[in-house]
């Protein structure tokens, strides 16, 4: 199985304050810590599990800056064989269809059997790149995959996770693009030996010219959506805020719950 896994570098904003930058069309990311997108991490693990079970290769693909190399090497340390990083300031990254076009141009001559990527990026939440990529490549696909079963060289069976935890079992022809849902496996930590080996593995850096895409196919002017502005939404909270020292707050809350008849 020749598997490709597409990963994205995203900031961890779960507990960080987010501010819009001076352009009004981006956020100030200077204080963010970045890492591999959560669902993509599960996709990497699934690709490596498939390689371990069936043989073959895992190649990592990422559109991103040089800073993404740390995260790419980590995927190689876990069992990836080689990597390609596409970096080109002309790509309009805010449009998922342009991102899909770039990935498709990177993969089109690679004779891949399987392409995995996360079902959602935690920064933009578009959930569009994987399925758009399948269309660009002209191959089958399934989104939100929670289990992959390789039936033979031309067929796979996948479980898609629907709302409420219901699963939909679907059979697909290969090659295929799958968007991987979190929780499908338990992503491993990179072994020390793997981290050393990863430094020697191939990591190609490619531009639009290298993948044979014209600028006017993926730049901002070619995009059919236009970002007007970013802004911080008003958080309307009607909650009663418990004031005091941290330890006092627990006590006050306990009293409110009991005296208010909530317990």
């Amino acid at each position: 199985m020749k598997t490709f896994v597409c990963i994205k570098r995203v900031p961890d904003t779960s507990e960080a304050e987010v501010k819009v930058d001076a352009t009004g069309k981006d956020v100030d990311s200077s204080r963010f810590s970045f890492d591999i997108n959560e669902a993509d991490n599960y996709a990497v693990e699934e690709a490596i599990l498939i390689k371990e079970a069936m043989g073959g290769t895992v190649q990592v693909v990422c559109i991103g800056p040089k800073d993404a190399d740390v995260m790419i090497r980590m995927a190689l340390a876990k069992g990836g064989d080689s990597a390609m990083r596409i970096e080109d300031p002309r790509i309009n990254l805010i449009d998922p269809l342009k991102v899909a076009k770039v990935l498709a141009a990177t993969l089109k001559d690679q004779e891949c059997n399987l392409v995995l990527t996360g079902c959602m990026a935690n920064d933009d939440g578009s959930m569009a790149v994987g399925v758009a990529l399948a269309e660009e490549l002209g191959v089958s696909h399934a989104a939100m995959v929670k289990k992959v079963e390789i039936l033979d060289e031309s067929k796979i069976k996948v479980h898609r996770e629907l709302e409420g935890g219901l699963l939909e079992v679907v059979e697909l022809a290969l090659p295929a693009v799958l968007t991987i849902q979190t929780g499908i496996n338990e992503p491993r930590y990179a072994p020390i030996r793997g981290i050393r080996q990863a430094q020697k593995k191939e990591l190609k850096v490619l531009s639009l010219d290298d993948i044979g895409l014209a600028e006017d196919e993926v730049n901002e002017a070619s995009s059919l959506i236009e970002l007007d502005k970013f802004y911080i939404p008003e958080v309307v909270s009607t909650a009663e805020v418990i004031e005091g020292e941290p330890e006092e707050k627990g006590v006050i809350m306990a009293e409110k719950l009991v005296k208010g008849g909530l317990l």
Binding site: V27, V131, S140, L167, V170, T182, L224, V235, G250
Partner: protein, 324 residues
Amino acid sequence: MGDIFVLAEHRRGELREITLEMLSKAAEVAQQTGGNLVSVLIGSGIDSFAEQLTGYSDKVLYIDDPLFADFNAEKYQKVLAELLKQYKPDLFMIGQTVQGVDFAPALAVEMKMPYLTDLVDLAFADGKFKLVRQYYQGKVNADFTFKAEPPYMVTIREACFEIAEPSKKGAVEKIDSPLKEDIEYRRFIEYIEAEVGDVDITQSEILVAVGRGIREEKNMEMVLELANTIKADLCGTRAATDAGWLPHDRQVGTSGKAVKPKLYIAIGISGAFQHLAGMKASKTIVAINKDKDAPIFTVADYAIVDDLFKVLPKLTEKLKELVG
């Protein structure tokens, strides 16, 4: 202006709520554009849905064909591409659901349509659609417009719009499926029900819920102590169940369960919209989170903005004294 098309979503004999949420919002937008509102219903033997949709649409386009007995992304894409070419609506609305995300991006690529996902709001003003979506899990909003000519396609976030009372009397127009034969490269096999655990959290009166803020499994101990003190059941976010801190049947949210206990204590939960959709119907919500801007506070009745590891032990200690 042209029409607004809304794709009706249904599964296993149920019209999903997103359908009426989209139609209710689309009715407002159609008033602004002056176009008609058209529901698109694809399935097999679902006349009752067609009937229900007439109350929300000026017209219901209904393809009733055994080819569509079960959802299949590839078949949907083929049929919808034909409908778009034939009817040329201004705007096509699809749910940002597990069904919608499985074909909408491919359809947009095939049709070379302007396409924006996961909208939380939209309107039509000054001759343009104004579109709002979010970034960084709800911490930033972004306004977009479309370039190029219609048709445009959008997907709509679940549980964002109220379902209005039915106020239209549209007609049902049955049309033949433009797709005549089954396809080979994708086949629906079966559904597998969600696993059932020892506790049904949809029936719990008191829930203690944990999220990523708990950080690691060993910290579940102090949460368990709180839960035991007040006889609560434990549940959590997708992150908490993915991490293995709780079994999957304890997950609250769109991909898990919808709960409505009397008391919901959210610990270290930032409040992704998928989670909020599953718990905001709780009667009283207490939220403990370090980040004052965490979306969980938009649904909370009591907000404790602080380090949960400092708050929780005292909360439990005092509760033991009062109710233990």
